[in-house]
Structure formats: C-alpha cells, structure tokens
Symmetry: none
Subunit: 220 residues, 4 copies
Amino acid sequence: MTRSTTREATPAPEERLRDADRSQNTILAAARDEFAEYGLGGARMDRIAERAALNKRLIYYYFEDKETLFQAVLEQSYRDIREAEQQLNLLELAPADALRRLVEFTWAYYLEHPEFLTLLNSANLHKARHLQESRKARELNSPLIEMLAGILERGRRDGTFRGGVDPMQLYISIAGLSYFYLSNNHTLSAIFGRDLLSAKARQERLTHMCDVILGYVLRN
Amino acid sequence: MTRSTTREATPAPEERLRDADRSQNTILAAARDEFAEYGLGGARMDRIAERAALNKRLIYYYFEDKETLFQAVLEQSYRDIREAEQQLNLLELAPADALRRLVEFTWAYYLEHPEFLTLLNSANLHKARHLQESRKARELNSPLIEMLAGILERGRRDGTFRGGVDPMQLYISIAGLSYFYLSNNHTLSAIFGRDLLSAKARQERLTHMCDVILGYVLRN
Amino acid sequence: MTRSTTREATPAPEERLRDADRSQNTILAAARDEFAEYGLGGARMDRIAERAALNKRLIYYYFEDKETLFQAVLEQSYRDIREAEQQLNLLELAPADALRRLVEFTWAYYLEHPEFLTLLNSANLHKARHLQESRKARELNSPLIEMLAGILERGRRDGTFRGGVDPMQLYISIAGLSYFYLSNNHTLSAIFGRDLLSAKARQERLTHMCDVILGYVLRN
Amino acid sequence: MTRSTTREATPAPEERLRDADRSQNTILAAARDEFAEYGLGGARMDRIAERAALNKRLIYYYFEDKETLFQAVLEQSYRDIREAEQQLNLLELAPADALRRLVEFTWAYYLEHPEFLTLLNSANLHKARHLQESRKARELNSPLIEMLAGILERGRRDGTFRGGVDPMQLYISIAGLSYFYLSNNHTLSAIFGRDLLSAKARQERLTHMCDVILGYVLRN
DNA sequence: TATGAATGAGAATTCATTCAT
DNA sequence: TATGAATGAATTCTCATTCAT
C-alpha cells in the first residue's frame, strides 16, 4: 500500500465520512445510555457529551436538540429490536416450540437491553409524541405479529392450539409478562424482600411465563 | 364568639390543624397529578404549587423537598391501592371466580388510576430508592399475595386448578398483563394503528387476560 | 415613631410592596441603559443584572424574558417622552415662537436622552414588533400632533404661516432633523472630520434647524 | 486543450482569481443583506454562509472575522452610494432644480437601498468604530458637499437663494428628512395607524420634503 | 480555493430552594 | 400557617471561530 509510505496520509473519502458517522453513532450510544438511566427529563446533555467523550456542541451539530436526539435514540432502539427479531426462525419450529422460543427471546432481550424498557417508559410518559412525529410508526409494527398469527394458525390446524386467539393480544401479553417483572424489578424486589434478578429467580420467572402462555394456548 | 370582636382572628387550634391537614392533602394531590403527568424529573415545584393554589413555600414547609414529596406521594398511592384491595372479598367466591375478579379489579384500578402506573415507573427509574428509604417496604407487600395463595390452594384442592402455581409469580403476571398494555398504550396504539383504549378494545383486552390467566390455572 | 423603637421593624405593607416596585424599576433603568448602549441583540442579561445590582433570576421573575423586558423599556421610554411633552405649553406662545420652541425641545430631549434614539433604532430593526404587540401603539400617538395642528392653524389665520402644511409631516421633519444628526453623529463626525457635538456645533445645528422649519412655514 | 487530458484540472490562474472574486462578492452581498436585516449584533455567520451558498470557513478565509466583514460591507455601501451620487449631474441644472433633484435622489436611494439605513444605524450603535479604523473616513466625505456649496453659491448669486446657508447642515438636513421617515417607518406607521410606505404616502412625503428644503432656501 | 467536523466561551433561561416577614 | 421576593447553581442551547484535509 502506498499509504503506509507517506507521512501524512489523506484518508480515503469513505474513511473521512466515517468520522462523522462514528461521531454520530458514539453520541447515539451515549445518549441511549443516559436516557435509559435517567429518562428523558433527567438526562443531561453534558453527561451525554462526557459519555461520548465528544464536544457537547457536536451533539447539537448532528442532532437538532434534546428531543430530536431522544427520538433518534428511540428509532435506533426499535431498529435494533426488530433486527434481533429477524434472527428468530420461528417458522421452522413446531407451534408450541415456536411460542416458547418467542417467550424466551422476549425475556432475554429485555434482560440484555434494559435500556429498551426505560426508553419505552420515557416515550410513553411523553405520550409517544416522538413516535408520532416519526413517520415510521407503522414500520415499527413488528413482523412478529404476522409470524405469530401464522404460528397460531398452524397450531390450530394441527389440533394442538385452541382457536380464537388474537395474535396482537398474545404478543402484548408475552411482552407484558417480562416487561412488568423487569421494569419494576426494584419495587417488586423491595416489596417481596428478595432479589428477583438472581439466577434462580430468573429461571423460575421464565418457566412460569412459558407455562402461562402455553397453558393458555394449548388445547386441553 | 370572641372571634367576631377581634380584627385579625386567630383560628382555634383544632381549626388551624384542620387547615394544615387540608393544605397538606391538597399539596399531595397536586403533586400526585404533577408527578404522574411529568415523572419525577419533569415535575415542577412551581406547577405543583399552582395546581394546589397554594404558595410554593408551603410545600417546603410541609415536605422537606421534592424527593421527600415524591416519596410521600408514592406512599399515599400504595396506601390507596391497598385500601381498594381490602374491598375485594375474594374469599367468598369460587376459586375461578375469585381469580377472574382479581384480574378485573387490577385492570379497572389501573384504568381509573393511571397515575399509579406512572408513579411506579418513576419510582423504578430511580431504582425504587424512595421505597427503600421508606421503612414501609414490607408493609406494602400486598395482603393479596396471601389471599391469592389461599385461592390457589382451594382450587387445587377442589380439583379445578392445577398445582404448583407460585402465587407471587401469578400476582406479577396478572399485574403485568394490564400494566404493559396501559402504560405503553401510546406506543402500542401508534404501532398497531388503532385506539387501544376504545370501549371495544378495552373489553377485548379484559376478556383476553381472563382467558390467559384461567387458561393457565385451570386443570384440563 | 414607634418603628424607631423596635429592633426588627416590620415594614408597612406599602413599603414592602415598594420593594418589588423598586426592584422592577431598577431593572427597567438598567435594561434601558444596556439596550441603549448595545441594542436589543447586543444587550446581555448578565450585564443588566449587574447594572441593577440584582440577581439575574429576578429579571425573569418580573419580566418574562429579554423580549418582554425590551418591550417594557420601550413603553417606559415612550411614557417618559410624552410626559416631557406635557410640560411644553405651546398654546400660550405666538405660532412662530411655538414652532421654535418645539424644535428646541426635540433637540434638547434627544440630546439629554440619547437612549431614546437607540431604542427607537432597535425597535425598528425588529420591525417595531414590540410596539404592535403592545396594545398601546395608538396611545403613544403624541398629543403634540394635535397641538401642532392648532399652531399651524393659528399661524395661517393670523397670516404669518403658509397654508397646506400637514402636521404629521412637519412633526416627522422636526424630529428627523435632530434625529439624523444625533443618531449618526459618530459617522458624520468622522466623515466631516470635526466634532459635531461641540457646544459651537450644537448651537449651529439648532439655529439651522429653526431656520429650516420656520423658513418653510413662514409666509413671505 | 490540455485541461481535457488531466484528471483533476487545475483552473488557469486568472480563472481562479475570478472565482475568488466572485466568492468574495457573493459573501459581501450575503453579509450586507444579513447585517441589514439583523444588525451587526444579530447577524449570524452561519446565515451569511447559507445566503451565499458557500462554506462558512470561506468567509474567514477572505474576511478576518465578523467585525472585519462588517467593515467591508460598510465600505462597499459607501462606495455604492458615492458611485450613485456621481451619476447626479446637478451642475447642469438651475439651482432650485438641482436642490429638488438632490432631495429626490436621496429619498429614492434610501427607498431602494433600505440596507444602507440599517447599516448606518449599526455602525453608529458601535460608535462608528469600523469607520475610524478604516483610513478611508475622509475619502467618504461626499463630493456632494462641494457640489451643494456650488449650487448654493450659484443660487445666491442669481438672487434666488438666501445667503448664509451652510452646505453641510443642509446636506444633513436633506438626508435626515428622508432617513427618519424611512428608518423608523415601522414605529411611525404603528403610531399614526396608517401605512407610511403606500404609494400615496410616499408621494406626499417627497412633496413635503421638497417644500421644506426649498421653502427654507428660496429667498422670499 | 474549498469544506465538513469540531470546539470553547458564553448566553438565555430554568429550577429547586431559601429569606424575611 | 402563609407568602412574595430573592438567589445560586445548573441546563439547554448558541455563536464565532478553528482544525484538518
């Protein structure tokens, strides 16, 4: 490579571009963490800049203001979870296994991405205003709903599932079972006087949730 | 009455107390609304004073500071829901009916007390710090858990319920099914492109939740 | 006086009120000077607080924001000049003397209140937006116009003045002759290479202006 | 042409210069508009770059900083008005006509170049600092003064004009009559409750100003 | 000559909280 | 018990300017 021979290499255009991209992504990640930890209202632009190890002014250079930044973080989070869902190959599994898999996935994703829960909370505290402004609302409709409908239909046909199950309701229920437990984990742990995030507690919760969902769906 | 003779009457002690109590409660209610609407971080002491139509300084007189006020609001909210739960006479009902009743109650309470959801969110965003400081954590352990355990036991004994159901897990699940749907209603409505709080949608959700819980618990 | 005997005198209500009033007036005066010196855009809230020797926050307590403060300053300035105009007893003078008197007054007022010129400039740079928002626009219509109309009419009747002189045009002209000279004094002094504010120059200007106005108005 | 053979053509020196000149002029025009609209304090370098459709950095390349840029704009404005004045062939006209012509010219120029008024205001708000630094102050002394002196002398000699009229004072007065009306047009329109820039109002003003100047200067 | 990225010093405004009565 | 006035420490956002290429 010629580049290694010259002293002051001029970065290729793509590389230079990537600088801007990198900064933007760094900011986005820092903001995600800050928003997750403190909520939209409690987040501090100063701290985001610090976390990103970038000049505060740069945040405003790339993202209009705090609200816009929050919206960008939110959209990124949705994109992330949708991408993760893509990896899920539920169609290859038997209906009951597919459902179990979905419960497990939801649980694991929330556990590994606690920021998602907080961001969702913040968004709803602000009446999902940021979502409405984002024309993308509908895009965010998880493809899982379709998939879930397919699974339920398959199960009903092969006689293992009961009929009349609304996929949207079920989807919300699956999410809700994990969400409430994890999002309010602090309060629940305090109230019940035990650590609800211990390995044992986590295993118990997962088992319980699978039991609930399958108990509901399985015929007989 | 002596009072009519003096120009600037000093109210009788009891009356002053009652005034004090009234002020305190007014502040508490105003604060609850404000915290519910904006979260702990977004709430403004000014607005609370405005809502209460009382001088801002008075808030500090009765409640140390914002944090303390939030804690007071939180405790009051727990007291309120516990009180509501007292009204529930589940012991008189057949196990399945009792469970259905509990699902309905939870759903209705959250619907009528949306502030409870937001307060819970705020509390957990702050890692339930306010709860831990409040020595009352354990007091807040709902008596419902015991009641629920009793119901499950009765059901198991009379053969209608499956065995091995953990009352705490079930309690959390019942709450979670309502909570997620209502707390994230804005996001969900945007994503699914329909109003999830319409009368019809509400009825459907309630039916679904009862089906899920009973489908899980009922033997056969 | 009883007050002098007690250690910690409680100020009479009026006096306490006056504290607020005094603060407000202090701020207003400080703001007037700052706006006059730097214009609306160049004025600094910090400096206004400093000039007033009051907490910056207090400015926002009494005046919404910078714009509102500017508007308040502007209104006060108009009130001041109108009040000064009230002192002018032009009706008692012969028409020509009354006109001369008006020219002299305008000149003297602008000289003594240079801030008025700058404020007027600032207001117009912002398209007099602050004036339009102030419902008072019409109130500010100087009573001088009526008075001027009367003088012109008297002069015409007694044969000393020409007819057909529009009072508004004349009013604007009288103001303009002083205004341009003083407002752009720096540029003019630089261009003409002499100090246009020296006592001699001032006298010459005043004489010239009287000559212009009377030369125009006087018949013959 | 050799140019077609090279990949990255280096423009011929003259061409580069012309580009440079063009850029500089574009910036100057953009800056003039921005300064005119917002004043020196309110002008934004960002907006100037935007208006010029050029990179902000380029402004600093050609013009040291904001102040220097303002000074350049100011000088250009003076050059422009002096150039326009050159076109005026007052010497060929009868003294009274020449004066009328001058009033008309001033009025028309201010009307067509509203930025000139604002720039003059800004310059004086800053005490004409930019002018003093510009060694050109004296150069800017309008040749009109000499011309005006000539006209007055001619008029005096032929008996139409009164004697003892100071050309500088008259020059300032002519400017002031137009300037005040136009510069404070917004305030005046608001105060008098009518549009002072309507075609009719403009005609009336012009007539009035000619009357004032000639009424003053004409003997009898 | 031209440009996108980056920055430090400020500027307006906000907010919880306290003073003084 | 109640209140209007006052404050200091943030906090968001802005702006002229410079870096690096």
